[in-house]
Symmetry: C3
Subunit: 155 residues, 3 copies
């Protein structure tokens, strides 16, 4: 981690910026998927939201839980639980001055695994598709964390 | 993204630091709002927490779900889903060397929209107040992501 | 925040990198704890996941809610709500050029408090153990936010 200053406008950092932005945008996309299911299936969490589809009575009935909406919400939460660690550890990893090829491999595998994970989750593909993509993402992040801790350890 | 090193102690980066800290503190505030509702309404998720308000029996009854507490929790989760992307993308955006005025506009609009969003959510204001503030926040983040990807793209 | 460029490969930044990585890895560990409880107690959120433990009928019965699994999931969410602010504010704090001893104190107290918090939550230790560790973590983050805002304020 000695030459951090020069690393920051390096190709590794540009690559990190690109992949981190893409995967965070993918995570934000889940809000739209949730909204889409809520509006088309007329399922809401808040009474005030029901006016978006209905103005008459019986609005209270639309405040309910739907398995498809819950599935998308779990996928979104799983993204938060995994993409946030990738961004934090990937940023520190990029500052340790890794080889460009190795860094790109980590970023591409992680981002690819999360896109497949989302498709597997939302479309309820048979296991172990989702489990594997989840594991691949975790492993990539652990591999970067290993380099950060072996390069920058200061307890 | 060529002059990243010089950008870091620029006014844009100071502005990012200020607004990111403020909006993250606002997000942390949700924990206190949740605790406030839990203690005043005596609604808990964990049996061991009920000793905070009661030492006698019937503590099991206090482990239940309350619509007001759930509303605050959804607001907190929505903050996580939106403020985390703002922090990540806003940080990379600040490193692309944007115009100070434009950067301040993005940061102020985002942070303002999230404060109004929280008020609209917790007080259950009629829609589309909350929907609009949510959309404004998303749009601001997308606008910054667009600049990051057009400036730093490295796939 | 004037000498940011020189701070980045300072000991404070190395210490931040180390503690941030450790506490984010701890947060990721919660996924394994959840999986462990799901597989041993045979409790799932998604029908397709039940094939991981059973191939015959009656798989629908395994899609249910279990108090122990929900406890671990709340602990994981609480980590997200608290560790993410620590990482964001701690990073900006590290850039303000704090005294190494003071910075290490903040990072160690926070990370220690979150480890004890997890044990207290998962093992359902009597209150106020969990409440105190939660408070200590919050206080540490607020203390760093105070320094960021007093050093870097730019509205």
């Amino acid at each position: 981690m000695a030459e951090v200053v020069h690393m920051i406008d390096s190709e590794v950092f540009l690559a990190f910026s690109t992949y981190a932005t893409i995967v965070v945008l993918k995570m934000m996309l889940m809000s739209f998927v949730t909204s889409y299911f809520r509006l088309t299936k007329q399922v809401f969490s808040n009474l005030e939201d029901t006016t978006l589809v209905k103005t008459t009575e019986d609005r209270k009935r639309l405040v309910r839980v739907d398995p498809d909406v819950e599935r998308v919400r779990r996928c979104h939460l799983n993204d938060l639980e995994n993409i946030v660690p990738f961004v934090v550890i990937g940023f520190l990893y990029a500052l340790t001055g890794p080889d460009l090829y190795t860094a790109l491999l980590h970023f591409r595998v992680f981002v690819g695994s999360r896109f497949v994970h989302t498709v597997a989750y939302v479309m309820a593909l048979p296991q172990p598709t989702r489990g594997l993509t989840f594991g691949v993402g975790l492993f990539t992040t652990f591999s970067m964390a290993y380099r950060v801790l072996t390069t920058a350890l200061f307890l």
